[in-house]
Amino acid sequence: MAENIQDIKRRIRSVNSTKQITHAMELVASAKLRKSRELAERRRPYFEAMIESMSRIVEKSGTTKNIFMNQREVKKIAYIIINGDKGLAGGYNVNVAKLVEGHIENKENAVLYTVGSRGRDYFRNRDYNIQGEFLGISESPNLFNAKEITALVMEGFKNGEYDEVYLVYTNFVSIMSQLPHLMKILPMDADELKPTGEIEEDKESEDLKILRSGEIEVKALKDLTIMRYEPEPDELLEYFIPYFITNTVYGAMVEGAASEQAARRIAMESATTNANDIIDALTLKYNRVRQAEITQEISEIVSGAEALK
């Protein structure tokens, strides 16, 4: 009898309290997940309408001289990294960080803006150049935070601090699956304008997506001849681009928030299941040890009684 009965009891108690914590976290995460998903859903009509308007203006203005749409030689790259403030969310934080690390070719040429303390800590420990950090907003993103980040990045891009800007976040595919995703947001590519919609269509098939973007195009062409713009399309575009990018960033934050909660829920669910398994195994062991102890005591008593005869 290697193990003490008290030790086993203590372990069961400890695992049980861990289970209670993980279970509570699971419940909290699923409640938050519901909220985040709603937010993501509510944002969709706005984003779709915006893409439509945007693609019309871009078509109208043709080859624009707008600085945010012109490609230039890439020397430095900025990354906006959407991450969580808290851990215990399975691979949520790490997957995004790994994607960024894989994409960065040269540490010296990368400038990072991190949302959430997890991403910041990860990259700070690895000596990356972090130019902006935003804490405490990853769980409940709002448009004004997105605006702030966008303004910062657009300013940097305009001043030539970097020549490309990437947005890295986690795409909420379903409750069971969240995929880290990297997309270029600056400079904007007029031809790529439609595919940016892909962050939205989680349930739609590839074919449907193509069909839809084609639809928008046809619709836009039809209306092009009569649509008037005030001010001129070029000027309008200048107003529209920050709007568009802000919304893309906001969308990434919303998707990220939903992904974080989903990842945490799954992680906590499996932790709870695991705790249950351990408790079962320990209870079995406990009973065996107790049984063995009783058996031994009985045989001691019996042999004691025998000796007295």
Binding site: R43, P45, M50, I57, R228, P231
Partner: protein
């Protein structure tokens, strides 16, 4: 009955209004303008301010629109805005406090003037819709 057109007001936080209206008056960057049915297709920028719309007889609604873009199509009119509010969603005291704070910050060099200016515009729009 006057002719109506389909109006959608969409904010990032959701669809704010979706329905047929007779007329809507909003503030553009060049001043107030009205949209009626059969308006010529137009895309333009709107400023931070108030709007009112005539939905039908004796049915006038008003609220705030905090900047955005309006696209008028033959099919529908879409207003994309940062945020839209009905008067009942607005807290008058909070708006007044925000106004005072913004006014102070505009004078103070420590703060971002453009941001304070934007906050001031928002609070003025909010107050004016309640104290009309």
């Amino acid at each position: 009955m006057a002719e109506t057109f389909r109006l959608k007001i969409i904010a990032p936080t959701g669809v704010f209004y979706d329905g047929d209206v007779e007329r809507i008056v909003i503030r553009g960057t060049e001043g107030e303008f009205a949209i009626l049915a059969e308006h010529t297709p137009l895309t333009t920028i709107i400023a931070v301010g108030t709007f009112y719309m005539i939905v039908g007889v004796k049915n006038i609604k008003s609220g705030t629109l905090l900047g955005g873009i309006v696209t008028i199509n033959p099919r529908e009119t879409i207003i994309l805005t940062d945020a839209a509010e009905w008067p009942e969603d607005i807290d008058l005291n909070r708006a007044k406090e925000a106004k005072e704070r913004a006014q102070q910050r505009i004078k103070d060099e420590k703060f971002d003037t453009a941001r304070a200016q934007a906050a001031l515009e928002r609070s003025i729009a909010r107050i004016s819709i309640l104290e009309k």
